[in-house]
Symmetry: C2
Subunit: 360 residues, 2 copies
């Protein structure tokens, strides 16, 4: 293990690789194109772990991220974010180098994209219940209008993209399956409705991709979080604690026996301010140790109670482990791996290899 | 104004400088040493704005931050965080170069610090009600023991430090004044109790420092957030909207007339996942425009409803301004300026000058 002096992000490579392999196999069995979302790790090294499983097409959440991965040899990239027309210049450069797929949801943006000299592929982003971005899946006339507008441009209509982010509100695999059933029937209906255009159907949030075994009417999946998972995915039922590959090492800087709490060097700037409401209240992470193999063991019922900028407060309803003293290091299993990765400048494998990250 | 293509952090320098001047004057009138916390801005350029107001002693929240500001000419630094004994080597290097003040709360850490070759100044961090870090202010015997241990070392006992972070729960100036009255009476009692050691009393969260006019029994104040303020400080009553100096520009990437919402390019990776419960529910920022002078105008009743990694959802109980379309840029006044600054790689003044930040 690497020497630890301050909050440091660790990734268990063996677990992450197993997560990638399992998802790649699930995609293969279901005859789905596996186009993983790279916003979770933002790392060229982790990208290579996907390449080893045969991945050639990827998904990102910003033009900047597309530029980073294009520079690292990825040639088939979907930017799963509504086109930001202020970045047409950067999109032009990208489109001249890689097979680029963008998400649109109105005709004006499609027309603006026609000023590009290179051809891009366009998904119409639809909203089948999450209500964040995308055009309402029932707005058939509007969708028809966008397809027709695309057909007047140099670009290719590829199909429909839906991100079911509302699956993060699920708290059981039953909830996830119900959400998937609803979503997939809506998408199947959409596919049938626009059958003349042979639309590709793209979806795949981590909860659905982890819980569902048989996918029908879907052409590609685009999950990201599953590479590391996190406490939220455990709460959803999308993974077990043994599938979580991400931990932040935090030195203990104070202990308070009277109120059964510790303070760690590790705050919102390391873990993000993400939290989750659980049956014991709002928590910001689980707490445990990491053995020499990089395997995490949670201390029973010990959690991150609150985070300020650099401080974390650790609490438990049981007496906190007496083996831990000021100067020891504990490991936090985070609430949301994507946000934690984004907070930290880089990461290390549990065997000490650097995992770099795109610069902000 | 700088050309904006993606989420960018802007600081109104005139407002920030006025905030610094006002706090410096308040400290001067009250005969307090003004030792501002630099964790909010993390910037050498902003540090210079403080120097112009006569500031020579500063406060930081990590050893890394102390190293950064020491390298930028600051020679009197308090690290307002429980000593992380895993960083003794870095502390040694710092202590050989600058007047370094550290916070301790137990005798074991004091003994470990005695292995340093350079002398440091030690505050005993006390807890007068916030219950995050610090020794309970009523633990007189324990405090006496720590002072006596410090006296056996090469280091100097400086006094007591208290951060009243619970002032962030206040929702009126009356709440803040009541909290200050309680805290200052406890600190005055502590000062009297340990009068033989002539202890310096250090405190000064932004709400108390902004709301209180007459300080008694306090020797130094250490606020940080006031340089930029934010929506939380407005909700507390610590500032008005005209004193807020920080905004994040965000391109509008989708509009939804049917549900009266916009989606912006601007998410938790730009603004942090900080939110605040208000009478209209949980919000993640105010929304408005910035004029050519860098002055912010809030759109009436328009707020950030939710944030995911890169998306922000904007909502209102009134019809959203019809003048804003896809491709326009709106400005977000954030919930918590310290966290937003930490998320962003750097900032710009509203006249376009770069404000760099320490590297993570």
């Amino acid at each position: 293990m690497k020497e630890i002096k301050r909050p440091t992000l660790f990734i268990n490579k063996a677990i992450a690789k197993a997560n990638i392999k399992a998802m790649a196999q699930k995609a293969k069995i279901n005859n789905l194109s596996f186009e993983p979302h790279f916003k979770t790790h933002q790392s060229k090294e982790v990208g290579e772990w996907f390449r080893e499983e045969g991945v050639t097409a990827i998904t990102v959440s910003s033009v900047a991220m597309a530029i980073y991965f294009a520079a690292n040899g990825w040639e088939n990239i979907t930017i799963a974010f509504p086109v930001n027309v202020l970045e047409l210049e950067e999109i032009e450069q990208l489109a001249s180098k890689v097979k680029l797929t963008l998400l649109v949801q109105d005709t004006l943006v499609v027309k603006k994209l026609n000023t590009l000299t290179s051809k891009v592929y366009l998904f119409i982003e639809v909203d089948a219940g999450y209500h964040r971005s995308g055009i309402n899946i029932n707005s058939k006339q509007e969708i028809q209008k966008i397809i027709k507008t695309i057909k007047t441009t140099k670009h290719r209509f590829k199909g429909f993209y839906y991100h079911a982010g509302n699956s993060y509100n699920a708290r059981s695999t039953k909830d996830v399956l119900a959400l998937y059933a609803d979503m997939s029937s809506k998408l199947a209906f959409l596919k049938q409705e626009f059958n003349d255009y042979n639309p590709h159907i793209a979806t795949g949030d981590t909860p659905c991709c982890s819980v569902v075994d048989v996918f029908e009417g879907i052409d590609s999946i685009h999950p990201g979080n599953f590479v590391y998972y996190d406490y939220t995915q455990m709460a959803i039922g999308a993974c077990t604690i043994n599938q979580v590959a991400i931990y932040v090492s935090c030195p203990v800087v104070a202990t308070y026996l009277d109120r059964n709490e510790w303070v760690i060097y590790g705050g919102g700037v390391h873990l993000s301010k993400e939290s989750l409401i659980t049956e014991i209240g709002k928590i910001a992470g689980l707490v445990g140790s990491l053995d020499e193999n990089g395997d995490f063991s949670a201390f029973p019922d010990v959690y991150v109670k609150s985070l300020s900028q650099e401080h974390g407060t650790i609490a438990s309803s049981l007496p906190l482990p007496s083996s831990i003293n000021v100067g020891d290091v504990v490991y936090i299993l985070p609430i949301h791996s994507c946000m934690t990765v984004d907070c930290m400048p880089n990461a290390f494998t549990t065997t000490g290899a650097l995992i770099s990250k795109m610069k902000k």
